[in-house]
Symmetry: C2
Subunit: 160 residues, 2 copies
């Protein structure tokens, strides 16, 4: 909810209005601004947080019924290159897109209630530093997906 609606309507071209600058950012890389991309950008600009690929395809279809899945997935790849979306794999291995990642963060999935939470760099710091020190492994936090049981479900399961 933090600065959600206002961000899309902001007039400054930097952090504030990422959607407004997509077109020129594509141009800068020699990429093109097509009606199909316009549709996806519009859909994304109205999506908050996490959406699955299939969901995005469906929403694009609602705007333009001629939308083809492969186009959506290919455009998502391009937008990921631009840093506008980021994908991870949900608990069932499905693509899950995160729109406008403000900061690198991972995800926590409860296998019982299927809810999702974000974990920020601070919370993951312990793991990241252990792996970095012991193995020189650089963790890609945005792709980190942890599953298990949330507090509520542990309690519901009987506490033991």
């Amino acid at each position: 909810m933090t600065a959600s609606g206002s961000a899309a309507r902001s007039t400054q071209p930097g952090e504030g209005a990422p959607w407004a600058t997509v077109r020129e950012r594509l141009h800068d890389r020699g990429l093109r601004w097509t009606p199909q991309r316009r549709v996806l950008i519009e859909v994304l600009s109205h999506s908050d947080g996490h959406v699955t690929g299939a969901e995005l395809v469906e929403r694009c279809r609602a705007v333009d019924p001629t939308t083809i899945p492969s186009t959506v997935y290919r455009t998502l790849d391009v937008l990921e290159d631009l840093g506008i979306v980021r994908h991870a794999h949900g608990i069932d291995g499905r693509e899950e897109y995160h729109v406008l990642p403000v900061a690198d963060h991972g995800h926590l999935h409860c296998t019982a209630c299927r809810q999702t939470w974000e974990i920020d760099a601070a919370e993951a710091a312990a793991l990241v530093s252990v792996l970095c020190e012991q193995r020189s492994f650089e963790v890609n936090l945005s792709h980190l997906s942890i599953s298990g049981l949330c507090a509520g479900c542990r309690e519901a399961a009987g506490g033991r």
Copy 2:
């Protein structure tokens, strides 16, 4: 590589010969011992570490060409219930089965060289305890999949 070949040939029915007891373990649950399951068990007993679902289907086909994918996947579900295999999702979201998980452990995937390593409870302890204390979240270590850059690839990438 630790105690790989010998384990399958051991005669003691406890930890040592899990394959020999599968049949009765199925019986104990009112489940059946079918030729199709025999094939998969045989394939699994010759597989070490991590295999994808598709790979298992293929190997079963090598033993019995009439093998049907859905049967393999359904049998894997059953075997997972028995604790004989465990699945997680690889970096690309595909099913990855881990045969005979000796101890709970997670996985480390390098996005550059696609290699995989295991991380044990000790290494993940820092993360697990942070999440447990701060959120009462119980991490399912066997399903933990971390991606990033391994030491070798970081160096190859130019060190920066």
